[in-house]
Symmetry: none
Subunit: 178 residues, 4 copies
Amino acid sequence: MPRTPEQYQQIRDEKKRLIMNTALELFAGNGFHRTSISDIARHAGISKGLLYNYFVSKEELVVEMMKDGFVELIVSLDTNRDTVLANEEMKSFINELLQSIIKRSHFWRLYFAVISQPIVNKTAYGEIMEIATPLFKLLSDYFAKMGYENPEAESRFFAALLDGIICGVNWTPQPAAM
Amino acid sequence: MPRTPEQYQQIRDEKKRLIMNTALELFAGNGFHRTSISDIARHAGISKGLLYNYFVSKEELVVEMMKDGFVELIVSLDTNRDTVLANEEMKSFINELLQSIIKRSHFWRLYFAVISQPIVNKTAYGEIMEIATPLFKLLSDYFAKMGYENPEAESRFFAALLDGIICGVNWTPQPAAM
Amino acid sequence: MPRTPEQYQQIRDEKKRLIMNTALELFAGNGFHRTSISDIARHAGISKGLLYNYFVSKEELVVEMMKDGFVELIVSLDTNRDTVLANEEMKSFINELLQSIIKRSHFWRLYFAVISQPIVNKTAYGEIMEIATPLFKLLSDYFAKMGYENPEAESRFFAALLDGIICGVNWTPQPAAM
Amino acid sequence: MPRTPEQYQQIRDEKKRLIMNTALELFAGNGFHRTSISDIARHAGISKGLLYNYFVSKEELVVEMMKDGFVELIVSLDTNRDTVLANEEMKSFINELLQSIIKRSHFWRLYFAVISQPIVNKTAYGEIMEIATPLFKLLSDYFAKMGYENPEAESRFFAALLDGIICGVNWTPQPAAM
DNA sequence: GATGAATGAGTCTTCATTCAT
DNA sequence: CATGAATGAAGACTCATTCAT
């Protein structure tokens, strides 16, 4: 009498989340290339093989993590799902984004690693961008709607600010991992 | 007729520069971990062995590159070497910094890779920071001198801006390397 | 109403046959080593665990398949079970053999894989040969009985022919599997 | 003072041959899939890494081996390089082929493994066939030229014979490797 | 009987680094 | 100074097999 499909699904879901959380922490802390699959497995308390039962490759793992993170963010952002930011919503949008940046710093560190250095291949990169781009496009659209003379530049300026907030801390020296 | 010691030194210097330039290009384009010593040697038209004649390790190579880049920047920045930025100098400082960011984008990409993800070990990281920190401290000091209420926050804001300018382009999707 | 023991046995037999047929197709098509237990289970529509309920190992599976195939062949060949081929029987023997080669090409492909490349261990190989050898010995004996000067060579010549017929198609290029 | 290019080339040639010979013996004896790169390196007395200095993959290794073997055979066969077999040449052709089969049995065993079971991918298979096919086409052409009613069938018959000679020995049981 | 999550030994492959020449 | 053959440790990934349910 095997487990029911629901039981199996639950096991899978929990284990998948465990792996992703563990990987996120290690990737953010030690860097993608310096974190081996063995490291992740060890920290998650599972075997190497099992990880490949959930993710076909190290690359796919990071892609899943990115997708997952952005989906979660989008859910918390776009309140009325019309993919256009009302003036009113802009406040909560920015607030939410900053909250996310603060609370989910591991995720954002990894995100910047992914887009700064080619750690995944073109296809994987494309998959991630497919999720990330629409999000950031909301910003451009907002500035455009606001009637700024140069919405493109304006949104870049804003992005630069946010961007700088996230990785700007880097300008000041801090202890390196290892 | 054998070469003079000066000639030898010049040859060494040129070769060293060749290696560093080649490495910089490859690191920036393909990422530190995806660029092998063999790649660098091949692109530089030299043998792997010779590279180790100039740099004791891959890590030391990147440290040297960082040091070198910052020294060059500092020379072009701090005109009167008093390590304090006069109000007048601030303009040229920022201008110079932006010029550098534009013209030496490879260098800055690598710099951000180094400080975002732990690609070098603690000691190497420290060596780099020993050079980089004083530079960025100039900014804090300037804002402090300007009498801003919160110089620390102000300089962070400024750094965030610059930082965002450099890597901010990342927010918008772009073709990945490979 | 619980099933009778006979019904259970029948279910077992049918499932066993299903597995063997599936495995045969995959082994012949993709090669023994490139066919995983998972592949077989998936194609047969059962779980990996169940497969091990019927066969103790991948190796034993292939041995069973071979035994099974030869037993079936023998049944159709040696009409009067005297293990000696009458002149009359020789015709039908060869005919039957050729028919088998044509109709059960998967089986023969696997057989040749097994004897050409050591894909199973010594013991398993021995078990297979215990079944296969007597069959081919019938041929030698026949030629001996026929009074050929060199029955050994003669039967080898005959075997070479049959052998060549089976795998001879290989000489001409054909699309590789995958 | 490094070695001259000629010296390096000689080292490479000898080492490459050593690896190929070692690999041929092991592949023929233990099968392609049961022979690991480590096995080959150990038997050749070199490190695993060095093997990859000469062959980009296990697959490419076997492709090279096949190409090499056929080129060697072709050289010894087609005396006047007109790619057509005169009646006179046919004798020496067959003789040479049989000699090769006898003397280079390892090579032929591997060849049959390659064409019987999909051990290399489609591209690699194609590369091998590009070399092998013209050779066997000589036979078909010869039978066609001889005016046989059914040259295609005739050459197949001949091929079957040769084929059977090579792997026909398999019909009689023999000790398996391991 | 039946399931599929879990294991871990084994495989191919990469690459920084060394060293004889 | 210069070369590139050689090493070996480490990493990603596979898969036959086990076992709790």
